[in-house]
Symmetry: C2
Subunit: 227 residues, 2 copies
């Protein structure tokens, strides 16, 4: 049986941490359907130029959010007859993560008004609410056993600053000693030579960055933070 045509798009869930909360980038749609509504950045696959759906997602990130070089992973594919009024559609959704310092460094091309806390979203078109919920669950789950939260922490950072990021993502405090042991096991950080930050009454704390090899791929460990 010859295949029936269907719509194939990519959607991008770009998350950052601001004001201690996970926030997602939403842009005003410039065309129907739902023109004028806030929605996830996304777009059609351009078969003439994209080499993969991941390519399409990187293109959308660059063209619609002006960002590149971020941590990106495929989230899940959402499909069906009812998610898009234009017809049966398949959307390959991607998760990207960026820290507030990188947003500044890349010129904060997306204005502050475009970010929304993931726990207080407006009504969204298509199944974007469900896609965002899936992304948040992925980030929270991976925070238990990987270096993912480090991508949300402006570098260079102290270990207490990184711990605060893990706690903001997880929505709960983490045992201080467990955290340091976990970071030791992950071994995903480089100390900045001579880099220290004064921290109030405490002696200056060592500064760290993510190791180069873990900037595009995650470091995972077997024992989670909650073990």
């Amino acid at each position: 049986m010859p295949p029936e045509p269907l719509i194939c798009t990519v959607d991008l869930v770009l998350l950052t941490l601001q004001a201690g909360q996970l926030q997602v980038l939403l842009l005003k749609r410039d065309r129907e359907p739902f023109a004028g509504a806030l929605a996830l950045p996304g777009g059609y696959v351009h078969t003439g130029e994209d080499q993969s759906c991941e390519d399409a997602a990187l293109r959308v990130l660059q063209d619609k959010a002006g960002l590149q070089g971020l941590y990106l992973e495929q989230l899940a594919t959402f499909s069906g007859p009812g998610r898009d009024p234009r017809g049966w559609s398949v959307s390959v959704a991607y998760l990207a993560v960026v820290d507030a310092g990188t947003l500044d460094a890349q010129g904060a091309p997306v204005r502050a008004a475009h970010w929304r806390p993931v726990d207080r979203l407006p009504a969204l078109p298509f199944d974007h609410g469900r896609i965002i919920a899936t992304a948040v669950e992925r980030v929270r789950g991976k925070s238990l056993y990987s270096s993912l939260p480090a991508h949300l922490c402006p570098a260079p950072f102290t270990l207490p600053e990184l711990q605060a990021v893990y706690e903001a993502v997880l929505g709960e405090t983490v045992n201080h000693v467990s955290f340091r042991r976990k970071m030791g096991e992950l071994d995903c950080l480089d100390a900045v030579p001579g880099g220290k930050r004064a921290d109030g009454a405490h002696r200056p704390a060592q500064l760290y960055r993510l190791k180069q090899e873990f900037r595009q791929r995650l470091r995972l460990v077997g024992r989670g933070l909650k073990a």
Copy 2:
């Protein structure tokens, strides 16, 4: 810009455990391209009847392998201009897992000759080798912190039998005491009332089944088996 048409299929990686090895179901393709070649079961999305890509995967599992009611999860989406000679394509790949007992009970409609050990695959068309490798990595990774391997163990089973399944999937032995503690934490098993199996010189061992609520979704724990 109007979207260019592309091919959208689902592909199914159905894994079982036989002879202590993870094995994947491969079927002879009955049409071009690659007619006659062994490949993953798959098919086009039928927008007239499927409510989602998952629906399409379940339909393929039923129609091409004669199986239903198995544990199924979305694996990943593979895409690009070169994976299918018919043109730019997107394939939403699914992972399904079945134990040897269920295969027998459902009439083993797929003959033994169709299974291949995942570590000794023939040359495969499209990017099916890569899709299978992704599925095996997923199963091995999830075996460290979930109930997934229980779906590969004919029920009812003893704890030593279940431990042997985890070890066959992981490719290494697991500490006996750690395993029993992990099964306690997972709390995903029901003891069969009065059900025991004699085990050679040992006293008869208790028989178990997966709890009903974990037959379609996995039970996860924070601390992995290798911790």
